[in-house]
């Protein structure tokens, strides 16, 4: 057993780890439940298995096939999106959907049915998965696609790694003719401003998202910057796609955990103020390489360490259009009041394209992501309040970014969970799953294994 944490560094659990190497091998036999674990970029406990074993998929990182004519790529589930970009971009293809970090695996993208800045156009990652192989602890192997074993396909997309091990998957990439994005930045004064800019931007822009100044109050509540963009057209023959995978990151790294006093109301205010005023004075529209456009935080290696040893809690919810205005106001007001303000607050509109995944998080409405330095009881109470507001608004909270949601909330957010439960592999479980389904605990003794925060 060794102590492990996730990207949010909270909670910490004691768990075993076993490395997977070959996709044709049988699953290792171990005592207790197992859970596939890729690059560990989930924030809360959905990628942890306290008291059990995680199956490390980093060794399942081989490419199987790529057709540059059709943009269909087949690869093992431990292949990172970064690897796919290095393969695809020089040949004129891009990920159909990408989250804000490229350091996630294809298996993780399926298990969490990730979304990106183009949800209104492309839906979730799961929509672009053509098929995959699912290995169960009983030794069975299933080919899953929308046509073949469609129920297993629907259960596994967004299924949090609980239905078995995805050994390989086939994904349809999307064509690009330029690795640069034409980006426009539009400041907005408040929430209504955001909704207006969002509505008028969606028709003409593939990629949209907003940064929100979560310290602005009163009439400026919800002010921020709206980013929208499209891949640039073919006009840069002198910048061949072949060289475009070069990282444009700054190469900064956070070498150590920053001490707690670096993050306080004053420093976060200063950061938010400077960011807002610096960004809005940059020229717009401008050309931005895809790397800083999609992955601004990847260039600061280990950025999660700015929160210190106690880590942080992410909170991402979606609220439906009907209740969005009041709910977002309340969420922003509460988060500004209730302790340390969120460093990075992101607003985005989700479209109505359905995912094939039964347990997929995105649904029509607005999604808000906030992060909070972990200050113990106070922070947890705040996040539980936000959870309650979301539930009352008829929304949902994203399991990949959650460490606190209640079992009641989970049940309300994921109405298909009972249908889904029948497809969980009996040998698979996670700290998250046991937390939100206390009744289904296979090993009651596991609950005590969570390591307390020093």
């Amino acid at each position: 057993m060794s102590t492990s944490d996730s990207w949010g560094r909270f909670p910490r659990v004691e768990q075993q780890a076993r490395a997977l190497v070959w996709r044709s091998d049988a699953l290792p036999r171990v005592d207790g439940p197992v859970l596939p674990h890729g690059l560990g970029r989930s924030y809360g406990d959905s990628c942890l298995n306290g008291g059990g074993t995680v199956l490390l998929t980093a060794g399942l990182d081989r490419l199987i096939d790529f057709d540059p004519a059709t943009g269909v790529v087949r690869c093992e589930s431990g292949v990172s999106l970064d690897t796919l970009l290095r393969l695809a971009v020089p040949r004129g293809w891009f990920l159909p959907v990408t989250p804000g970090t490229k350091f996630v695996t294809v298996g993780g993208a399926i298990a969490n049915d990730v979304h990106g800045k183009n949800h209104h156009r492309a839906g979730t990652f799961g929509r672009h998965v053509r098929r995959f192989e699912l290995v169960r602890s009983d030794g069975s192997r299933r080919m899953c696609s929308p046509e073949e074993n469609a129920d297993w396909f629907g259960a596994t997309i967004g299924g949090l790694g609980l239905t078995g091990l995805v050994t390989w998957a086939e994904v349809q990439l999307t064509p690009i003719r330029n690795p640069f994005v034409v980006q426009e930045t539009v400041p907005f004064e408040n929430l209504d401003g955001f909704m207006r800019v969002s509505a008028e931007s969606e028709a003409d822009h593939d990629f949209t998202m907003s940064w929100v100044d979560c310290l602005a109050r009163g009439r400026k509540l919800g002010r921020g910057l709206f980013y929208r963009g499209n891949f640039a057209p073919t006009q840069f023959d002198r910048l061949p796609l072949a060289r475009s995978h070069l990282s444009h990151g700054s190469g900064l790294a956070v070498p150590v955990d920053l001490p707690g006093f670096c993050l306080n109301r004053l420093s976060v205010s200063a950061f938010n103020f400077l960011y807002y005023h610096r960004e809005r004075t940059k020229p717009s529209p401008r050309l931005v390489h895809y790397d800083p456009f999609f992955y601004p935080l990847d260039s600061v290696y280990g950025w999660n360490r700015i929160y210190g040893r106690r880590g942080f809690l992410q909170f991402q919810c979606v609220v439906p259009h009907a209740t969005a205005r009041d709910a977002l106001k309340e969420l922003l007001e509460r988060s500004a009041r209730g302790g340390l303000p969120s460093f990075l607050s992101v607003l985005k509109t989700f479209g109505d394209l359905p995912s094939p995944g039964w347990m997929s998080f995105p649904r029509p409405g607005y999604t808000l992501a906030l992060d909070f330095a972990n200050r113990g009881e106070k922070t947890w109470r705040l996040v539980e309040e936000l959870d309650r507001v979301t539930r009352e608004a008829g929304g949902a909270v994203y399991p990949a970014k959650d460490a606190r949601m209640s079992p009641e909330s989970f049940a309300a957010y994921f109405p298909q969970r009972e249908r889904f439960s029948a497809y969980i592999d009996p040998a698979f479980s996670s700290s998250f799953w046991r937390r939100v389904n206390p009744a289904s605990l296979p090993l009651p003794s596991l609950e005590g294994r969570q390591v307390s925060i020093p």
Partner: protein, 245 residues
């Protein structure tokens, strides 16, 4: 190296090397024991840009098969200008001390089979007066230690064999590159607790190819092992035999 045979191609270091070679556009002939795993490595190499990848499943301890193996590889790729020998076993020192069979298996895999393959490859490379032989030995071959002297002896013998081969082939323009990794984080060392001395297979592969490109003689990867092994080799035997290394 443009047409390369990789022996032990499913080992972690070999896989990382195959990826780098594939990205450079090298044609590859991969040899390993498990056909399904070899095919996975071969498809990965093809997808990453290798123009031609062939593979053959074979237990390399079967030295009788080496001549025909090299002949087939030669035919498959037209000719060869590079070879990477990466197969090997760590063995279990305690088991080797109890059993000659276990000791023999380590010596056969790490030394005898390599010597047999190198004999075939060296004669062909010598005849064509070109080629690069890259062989993975180990820092463990630099000095025998009680904790793993059977493995160390197999790699030490390999290192000396390569020294002689290099001496012989120098006049033919054939490079013989001995790569001595330290601890590497691979399935071979999965049971060993990791520390800062451990390198990744990718790190070792980059060092290996850099040495091959530079036609180096003996290299330690990562380089700091040169210093560590200098110290370990310098300890006088009367002192050394009392140490618990």
């Amino acid at each position: 190296m443009k047409k390369v045979i990789v022996l032990g191609a499913t080992s972690a270091i070999a896989q990382a090397t195959v990826r780098l070679l594939a990205a450079r556009g090298a044609a590859l002939y991969l040899v390993g024991r498990n056909a399904a795993n070899l095919e996975a490595v071969a498809r990965d190499a093809t997808t990453r840009g290798a123009p031609k990848v062939e593979f053959r499943a074979l237990d390399l301890n079967d030295c009788e098969a080496h001549a025909s193996l090299v002949e087939r590889a030669w035919q498959a790729l037209g000719e060869l200008d590079g070879a990477v020998l990466a197969h090997g076993v760590l063995g279990d020192q305690a088991e080797s001390q109890r059993s000659w069979a276990a000791t023999e298996l380590v010596l056969r895999t790490n030394f005898l089979s390599a010597a047999s393959l190198l004999t075939e490859l060296a004669n062909r490379f010598e005849a064509q007066k070109a080629g690069t032989l890259v062989v993975i030995s180990s820092v463990a071959g630099d000095r025998g230690r009680q904790s793993n002297y059977v493995y160390g002896a197999s790699k030490g013998a390999l290192t000396v064999f390569l020294q002689g081969l290099r001496n012989r082939l120098a006049k033919s323009g054939v490079a013989v590159v001995t790569v001595k990794p330290g601890f590497v984080d691979t399935p071979m060392t999965a049971h060993v607790p990791k520390n800062k001395l451990f390198a990744s297979p990718e790190q070792v592969a980059r060092g290996l190819l850099k040495a091959a490109d530079g036609r180096k003689n003996e290299v330690y990867v990562p380089g700091f092992w040169a210093l560590i092994m200098l110290i370990i080799r310098s300890i006088p035997e009367p002192v050394f035999k009392r140490l618990k290394l």
